[in-house]
């Protein structure tokens, strides 16, 4: 069974009173456990919309989104919040760390929501931060770190929840090419070591080359 499956997924945004923008026009996609998939395509092709729906951040206008065979498109906002907390890790383009929390606290936050004990949270957060190479930065606030370091904290935060899938929306877009490669290496290592499924959107050709699977979107449909 596919870890994630979309069936005839459609997303229409209504702008103003009459303007309808079709972001996704019937996406059928299967992602199996342990994949390292890049969703590529030009701006406006529907990459972010697809990731948002896969990540249960948004709901489709039509079609089904199945996680482990279960439809999540009909869940309430509260159920979706619990679902995201337990099953999905996010890495955003602009890092999106909580500015008032240190690197350690940012990583710890998800586990706190999950009800993990303080000792376990501390131990696991430090281990993960060490794993992503930020052992010396655990007490730094986001504004005291570089973009690459912040994105590593974001990856560590996504890992902290021990999700089966990490969704990353253009994770290297704000990074220089060297830092982007380092981050990609880290994600590939985690994919190999922990068997975490990675799905990320990108329009960076270097990143696309290193993805194990490439899905190309254009005007809301999969073209290859």
């Amino acid at each position: 069974m596919a870890l994630i499956e979309t069936k005839n997924l459609k997303k229409v945004y209504t702008i103003g009173k009459n303007i309808r923008a079709e972001a996704l026009r019937g996406i059928n996609l299967q992602i199996t456990e342990g994949e390292f998939t890049a969703i590529a395509g030009p701006s406006g092709s529907g990459k972010s919309s697809l990731l948002n729906i896969i990540g249960a951040l948004d709901t489709p206008t039509e079609g089904l989104i199945l996680h482990d065979g279960q439809d999540v498109s009909q869940k309430t906002p509260k159920q979706l919040a619990s679902f995201r907390l337990r099953h999905i890790g996010f890495v955003f383009q602009a890092y999106n760390l909580i500015n008032t929390l240190t690197a350690l606290e940012n990583v710890e936050y998800i586990m706190l929501l999950q009800g993990v004990s303080w000792h376990t949270r501390q131990k696991r957060s430090k281990e993960i931060l060490k794993r992503v190479g930020l052992n010396d930065y655990i007490h730094r606030f986001p504004n005291e770190m570089s973009g690459g370091q912040q994105q590593r904290v974001a990856v560590a935060r996504a890992m902290a929840a021990e999700p089966r899938i990490i969704l990353a929306d253009e994770p290297t877009a704000n990074l220089d090419s060297k830092t982007a490669q380092e981050l990609l290496n880290l994600m590939l290592e985690l994919n190999d070591e922990k068997k975490i499924t990675f799905v990320f959107s990108t329009h960076d050709s270097l990143i696309m080359e290193r993805a194990k699977r490439l899905v190309i979107l254009k005007d809301g449909v999969i073209v290859s």
């Binding site: 948002n52 990540g55 951040l57 948004d58 906002p77 509260k78 919040a81 619990s82 995201r84 907390l85 337990r86 996010f90 955003f92 999106n96 760390l97 909580i98 500015n99 008032t100 929390l101 606290e105 710890e108 936050y109 998800i110 706190l112 929501l113 935060r157 929840a161």
Partner: protein
């Protein structure tokens, strides 16, 4: 919960200037409220103190029906047993027997209607402060026979002065004409028109002789150790003394008008409380709402990560509560310090002396700190800070994560 509290505190620190302005607004509001309340309490205390220390006292004992009839016929016949009972009561500081009658005071040039009080000077000085309000001459002593004290304003109206003779005319208890000539021994100046223009004090035996009352009296004025207990002690005395023969009334019942003044002032204070609470509410709402709107993206992330609505609400509410708590502590310190300082040195309102005297207040008002209103003020500020956080918290909790994250 600790993490949400930590985030709330750090958010307050994150925007120091705005938080400081809000805390200052809350603090000044609460400080002003406490000070105004202390001032009004001080004014009320002075009003009650002055009012009850002139002629009303804390409790008055009359024969049943005196309050309605208000005449010589409603006298207390044999007060000895009552007086010895009062001596044993621990709540009572002092008491004084009085004869009280209406009459006419005449000089060679003019005359004026007056309220005549026959007093025992030694006892009276323990229940009233009239002896301290003598502006010219001296107060009555046990040997001041055929001498009287009148108000300075009354003396002016009658065109008499110290040492001059005046005549009191009235009706005695037996129906005969009560008339007597008295020499003015002292002039009163209380600032209260009804006393300064309409009261005559003479010795109790002189008054009993004038009104043919033998050892009868009109009333017993009681001063308590604590004026706050006037109602409860009056009730106790009513139960202990023959209730069918006597009416024992606290000052609030004797003069409902004074009580109404105080109640009006208290109602007015609540208008000030509402205004201050609106200022506090706007201050905190502005800071918290601005903070929430600025952090729309952050709330989007928190929601995306799986934070539940109620946790977001708690986070925003804590922020508001902390602003309220810090503002309250600052306001408490400000209000209590100001009230304590002016409670010692007084607030000089001598420019308004005549107006204040009409309300039984002195030129200096001494604010009084009272835990009751301080607790109410602080509780109201904290309640307001929680109340105003509802909307920003609700707004933050109901953001759509996918839209909120896109917010710049």
């Amino acid at each position: 919960m600790f993490t949400f509290i930590k985030i709330a505190i750090r958010n307050i620190i994150r925007n120091k200037k705005r938080s400081l302005i809000t805390i200052s607004a809350v603090g000044f509001g609460l400080g002003a409220l406490i000070f105004i309340w202390a001032f009004v309490e001080g004014a009320h205390k002075q009003m009650i103190e002055n009012y009850t220390s002139y002629l009303t006292s804390h409790i008055l004992i009359h024969r049943k029906g005196y309050q309605q009839k208000n005449n010589l016929e409603t006298y207390i016949e044999i007060p000895r047993n009552i007086l010895s009972f009062l001596q044993q009561r621990p709540e009572i500081a002092a008491f004084a027997p009085r004869v009280k009658a209406e009459g006419l005071l005449s000089s060679a040039e003019s005359s004026s209607g007056v309220l005549i009080f026959g007093i025992d000077p030694l006892q009276e000085t323990k229940v009233s402060t009239l002896s301290k309000r003598i502006k010219q001459g001296r107060f009555l002593t046990p040997d001041s026979h055929d001498n009287i004290i009148i108000g300075e304003a009354l003396a002016k109206n009658l065109n008499v002065g110290l040492g001059d003779k005046v005549v009191i005319m009235s009706q005695a208890l037996d129906g005969s004409i009560a008339a007597g000539a008295f020499r003015i021994q002292g002039l009163l100046d209380t600032g209260v028109e009804e006393i300064d223009k309409g009261v005559v004090l003479l010795l109790l035996p002189d008054s009993q002789e004038l009104f043919v009352m033998n050892d009868k009296i009109s009333e017993i004025a009681i001063r308590l150790k604590s004026v706050e207990k006037a109602k409860s002690v009056a009730k106790k005395l009513s139960r202990a003394l023959p209730a069918s023969e006597l009416e024992i009334l606290p000052w609030q019942t004797i003069s409902p008008m004074m009580q109404q003044w105080i109640e009006f002032d208290n109602a007015f204070i609540w208008i000030i409380v509402i205004v201050v609470m609106i200022v506090v509410a706007i201050g905190i709402l502005n800071t918290v709402l601005m903070g929430v709107l600025e952090r729309t993206r952050e709330f989007g992330i928190l929601l995306a990560l799986g934070t539940h609505h109620k946790q977001i609400v708690a986070m925003v509410a804590w922020e508001s509560v902390f602003l309220g708590i810090i503002g309250s502590l600052w306001g408490l310190a400000l209000g209590v310090s100001l009230s304590s300082y002016f409670g010692k040195v007084g607030i000089d309102l001598s420019l308004f002396t005549s107006a204040l005297n009409s309300f039984y207040m002195d030129a200096f008002i001494y604010p009084v700190i009272h835990m009751g209103y301080i607790s109410v003020s602080v509780a109201l500020v904290l309640f307001t800070s929680i109340l105003v956080s509802i909307y920003p918290a609700w707004h933050a909790a109901h953001l759509k994560p996918v839209d909120a994250i896109r917010t710049i």
